[in-house]
């Protein structure tokens, strides 16, 4: 399997604070990588560095072999890597459909084609019935699904999901889990930040654990669950 993302010695400093410190790992095409760690470990910071929201202070990010540090988020998106936001960002005054159309327009200038793509993505996340609703009026579960549909419309190869299950009830979370697995079947590569350990264990092929900005551990779900350092830093107890 080809390496799609290669993170090499990435560090990010804010003044004196090292939000990310010498983080390295890589991802193969089609896999699901779980990214876990306590709050403030630097997970979202890493997402921000990878996608160009801000550049890393040190290190390199290689996406499909192309060096992306220093690129702007829109360039990264066009290359094929997108992210969702921990705090959802719906385009509130636009409809659900129009939100996804904005994503689809990354690949086409035709509104008709964009709308078709948008409808398709909404069907995948099972929100096609709400196409005409204003995004600002949606409850949190649907906002999260909308955000996923929106990034899918950009036809990405790698999707970074930032706590997409945060604030959802078990039924909604299960829907998202099924969605993630479905997307994997379609060939999409995904990196998932989550606090829901059961979910992460179920979906991840590999897991990276961050703590205080540093990579604490990397391995398969079982390895990580049994890792005593991870348990003491984050899990608290063994996860079955």
């Amino acid at each position: 399997m080809a390496t799609i993302l290669d993170i090499q010695h990435v560090s990010k400093f804010f003044g004196g604070l090292a939000a990310n410190s010498d983080v390295s790992f890589s991802m193969e095409q089609g896999m699901i990588m779980g990214l876990i760690g306590p709050n403030g470990a630097g997970k979202t910071t890493l997402f921000n560095c990878i996608t160009g929201y801000y550049p890393p202070s040190k290190g390199e990010v290689l996406f499909k072999g192309v060096k992306t540090n220093g690129m702007q988020p829109d360039q990264v998106c066009r290359l094929g890597m997108v992210r969702t936001w921990q705090k959802v960002r719906p385009l509130a005054k636009l409809t659900v459909l129009d939100n996804v159309v904005v994503g689809a327009l990354a690949r086409t200038a035709s509104l008709k084609v964009a709308r078709d793509i948008a409808h398709e993505q909404l069907r995948i996340v099972r929100m096609d019935g709400k196409a005409g609703f204003l995004a600002g009026g949606l409850p949190i579960g649907e906002r999260k699904k909308l955000e996923v549909a929106r990034v899918l419309a950009t036809q990405p190869e790698l999707v970074l999901l930032d706590e997409v299950m945060g604030g959802l009830n078990p039924a909604e979370s299960e829907e998202i889990i099924q969605l993630i697995l479905e997307l994997k079947k379609r060939g999409l590569t995904q990196m998932v930040i989550e606090h829901d350990m059961k979910a992460i264990m179920r979906i991840s092929d590999r897991i990276v654990v961050l703590n205080s900005g540093e990579k604490l551990a990397e391995g398969g779900p079982r390895e990580i669950a049994d890792n005593p350092e991870v348990i003491s830093a984050y899990l608290g107890e063994r996860v079955e």
Binding site: T95, L138, T154
Partner: protein
């Protein structure tokens, strides 16, 4: 759950209906001068159409892209001065000069945009004001170039020869039709923008810049495109204004109150909509004219010449139009931030909800 028809899900009929209504209104305006020949009425028509152009132009950058420039007088003034100076100093007629004016404004807008667009929210507003103040103060100071506070007095506009016909620009009639055409074009451009990739991208930028950025939208580029379109039409209005009024000076065309007026036309009518600036213009222009020139109502035959209203306004409220603008802005921001169009929309939504609630109640009682 609130539901709002958007261009993508509204029934096809409503778009066609809107177009028919629009054409009917335009036709009415076009035919109007056949029946009413008073120059004052035609004058008011020109002022109204120009206000519509100014509002629609600002709407592209302020309403769709969400960047509240309170310095648009810069482009208005550049349009006015370029057209005027080319005519007065180089004898270039305005129908050619206006293109230079538009080009100049667009160039300046790219410079201003590249400087100011990295700022957000209120800082952007402040920067936009500062830039225009710099231009105004420079225009006042460099008298050798712009004649400073003395201003430019236009001597006369040559006649336009098309085919065998000759159109004079001495009376108000040709201005009326030219202004109407300009207003129609601007509304049309706004409609095209709203229903294109540009429109979607502008609105995405307005709603959430960072989200838009991560979805593949080059913020700097699209903001500049919005500003360029906006500047072009604002400059066009400026050049037109200069030809119509035949006198310009830095404070009249670069002033902060001019910039504020552009914003007001949109805010009062409803920003981010096509109808908004039209309604805003229709509210502000008559209002300001009645206050500025109450005798105009007499000229129109609406009031008699010894009307107490006219006397009162003349004595106590002359030039109070800015006061009324201020009051209107306060009222709109506090009670109707989406303007008149917003009020109408929420009123319609409320009626719809009541109707469907009644339907449901009826259905419940009949089963």
């Amino acid at each position: 759950m609130p539901r709002r028809p958007s261009p993508s899900v509204a029934p096809r009929g409503s778009a066609a209906l809107g177009l028919v209504a629009f054409l009917a209104v335009v036709a009415a305006f076009a035919v109007f001068p056949q029946f009413v020949r008073k120059p004052y009425v035609l004058h008011m028509g020109v002022v109204l159409f120009l206000a519509i152009v100014q509002g629609q132009a600002w709407n592209v950058i302020g309403g769709y892209a969400g960047q509240y420039s309170v310095g648009h007088a810069a482009y208005f003034g550049i349009g006015a001065y370029t057209t005027t100076m080319l005519l007065e100093l180089n004898k270039i007629p305005p129908w050619w000069g206006i293109w230079a004016a538009i080009a100049a404004a667009v160039l300046v807008s790219i410079v201003i945009g590249s400087i100011t667009f990295r700022l957000r929210g209120p800082y952007f507003v402040l920067a936009s004001i500062s830039v225009t103040e710099i231009i105004r103060l420079a225009a006042l100071y460099f008298k050798g170039f712009t004649r400073g506070a003395e201003g430019f007095l236009l001597s006369e506009i040559p006649a336009l020869k098309i085919g065998g016909a000759e159109i004079e620009f001495y009376t108000k009639r040709p201005f009326y039709f030219a202004a109407l055409a300009l207003a129609v074009i601007t509304v049309g451009v706004n409609w095209l923008v709203e229903h294109s990739k540009l429109g979607y991208y502008f609105q995405a930028i307005r709603e959430d810049q960072d989200a838009a950025h991560s979805l593949g939208i080059n913020l700097a580029f699209y903001k500049n495109v919005a500003l360029a379109i906006s500047a072009a039409f604002t400059a066009w209005a400026g050049g037109f204004y200069a030809m119509f009024v035949k006198f310009i000076d830095p404070n009249t065309v670069f002033g902060l109150d001019v910039s504020v007026q552009f914003v007001l036309i949109c805010i009062i009518g409803g920003i981010g909509t096509i109808l908004g600036p039209v309604i805003g213009a229709m509210v502000l222009v008559p209002l300001s004219e009645v206050l500025r020139n109450p005798k105009g109502l007499v000229q129109l035959g609406l009031l008699s010449s010894d009307s107490r209203f006219v006397q009162f306004v003349e004595e106590h409220l002359s030039n109070a139009h800015m006061l009324v603008y201020g009051i209107l802005v306060v009222i709109v921001i506090l009670f109707a931030p989406d303007g008149v169009v917003g009020l109408i929309r929420s009123g319609v939504a409320r009626l719809r909800r009541r109707a469907s609630a009644r339907e449901r109640a009826q259905a419940a009682t009949t089963t």
